[in-house]
């Protein structure tokens, strides 16, 4: 392997520039749509009454949904045969291409979402202030589960990210179907096999997957699975033929 076959800073920066150009539309549309929907819901729910808005819930609903969609829309060039040719022959390494997409999807989108959410909060605050209604200040760092949320978001983003490379057509829908199939399979496995074999206190409503032990186990599993999905994405791009 030649010295800078994997990573070259200059090449990475121009790749990032090219990828930003390619993804900016989907990121912007997603941000405007997510925050716009939140804004309309907020106005409908409590824009005219003194009901306190739970910004924390709103923040995470928007962030979860928006970030999954953005991750599912990554690698837009793989949606068409013609653009796949252009993408695969772009003189950058798979690593540089993947990292630049990840920076936009896993970091950039979340940063922009936070900025957009605060803009939304200011708008809501202004609207309610005009009406003489109170609004609580929203501080994301107040949330003790912030890290857990981000790990969960990155985990599911990684799943959708892999799906965007795996499926050329309708990657989001196909990834959701796969997720449901896997969950259904694991639930059945949990219900009929794991709990019955390894745990005597087997009940149909409280299996291994739902046990307290497993909640802790899940968070560790995320740390293991996130890089695994990234590696799988890398090799899927590397092995792509058109």
């Amino acid at each position: 392997m030649k010295k800078n076959d994997l990573f070259d800073t200059n090449r990475f920066l121009i790749t990032l520039k090219a990828e930003s150009n390619r993804l900016k539309k989907s990121v912007l549309v997603n941000l405007v749509a997510t925050v716009g929907i939140l804004f309309i819901i907020s106005l409908l729910v409590s824009g005219i009454s003194n009901v306190m808005l739970n910004f924390n819930t709103f923040f995470y609903i928007g962030l979860y949904i928006g970030s999954f969609i953005v991750a599912g829309m990554a690698f837009p060039d793989f949606r068409k045969k013609e653009s796949t040719i252009r993408y695969l022959t772009l003189p950058a390494s798979v690593f540089e291409k993947q990292v630049s997409q990840m920076l936009i999807v896993f970091v950039g989108y979340i940063l922009f979402y936070v900025i957009a959410f605060y803009l939304y909060w200011i708008l809501i605050w202004g609207w309610r202030h005009i009406l003489g209604l109170d609004t609580t200040f929203f501080n994301i760092f107040d949330d003790p589960d912030l890290t857990k949320h981000f790990i969960t978001i990155w985990f599911w983003q990684s799943v959708f990210f892999l799906g965007s490379v795996w499926f050329s057509k309708s990657p989001i829908i196909k990834t959701v179907l796969i997720i449901f199939s896997v969950i259904a399979f694991l639930s059945l496995l949990d219900l009929f096999v794991i709990t019955k074999i390894f745990f005597d206190n087997y009940t149909a409503h409280h299996g291994f997957i739902h046990s307290n032990f497993n909640i802790e186990f899940n968070s560790y599993l995320y740390y293991f699975l996130i890089p695994l999905f990234w590696v799988a994405t890398y090799f899927k791009i590397k092995e792509k033929q058109i």
Partner: protein, 271 residues
Amino acid sequence: MIQINQMYFAYKKDIPLFENLSLEINSGGIYGLLGKNGAGKTSLIKIISGLLFPHNGNVNVLGFNPPKRSPLFLSQLILLPEEFDLPPMSIKRYEEVFSSFYPDFDKDKFKLYLAKFDLDSFVLQNMNTLSYGQKKKALLSFAFASNTKLLLLDEPTNGLDIPSKAVFRKLCIEASDNDKVFIISTHQVKDVERLLDQIIIIDKGKIVSNQSINEISQTYKFEFVDSLDNISFLYSEQMLDGYKIITDNSTNEPSQIDIELYFNAIINKNK
């Protein structure tokens, strides 16, 4: 520059497209890759550019193994497929974003080539709003200005108007040199007839001819005769008013080549 040795490739198991295909291109020039529909021209171009992986055999292009898609290798090649997709941006923006990937990209030449293709007034327009021919001319200008060692053009004259075909030929000659290999895959042989240095004919998964224009013109004579009576020929084709024939060139003096006739002769011989 390109060495393919005993290469095997199949889209479907047990139905090989290429079986023991070997091809060697050792010097720069403009190569015409000809073949019937489904002969594997586009697939061969994709294998050379690393878009398809051969199942067996050796493929070495510019000293690289194409399936690895090394960035250094990719920065030395441009593939312009017959059907392409462009990002929604202007020609100017396209140049700003993508030219940096090609170390020898010449911005002045790009401007010049665009002007020759009458595209200089469209540089700020979104490329997706341009016609197919205009998009192709923009991509051809970019490809020539990139100064890459390998240029793979699949049906480059499809969609070009008559004046643009002449411009394409001029630019092809202007941009080529002894260090660069241009491979033009086409069915429109008339468009590139006087352009090619070498003709590669692919049929039934094999390279059935790989000869320079000089060799062909010194070996064969391409003539038109009214009748075949008392004429010794290697291949003939009946026309409305006579026959096109290929004969041995006993004088060894270069003759004007009819590529279409030569192609048909090779394909018929291979039947």
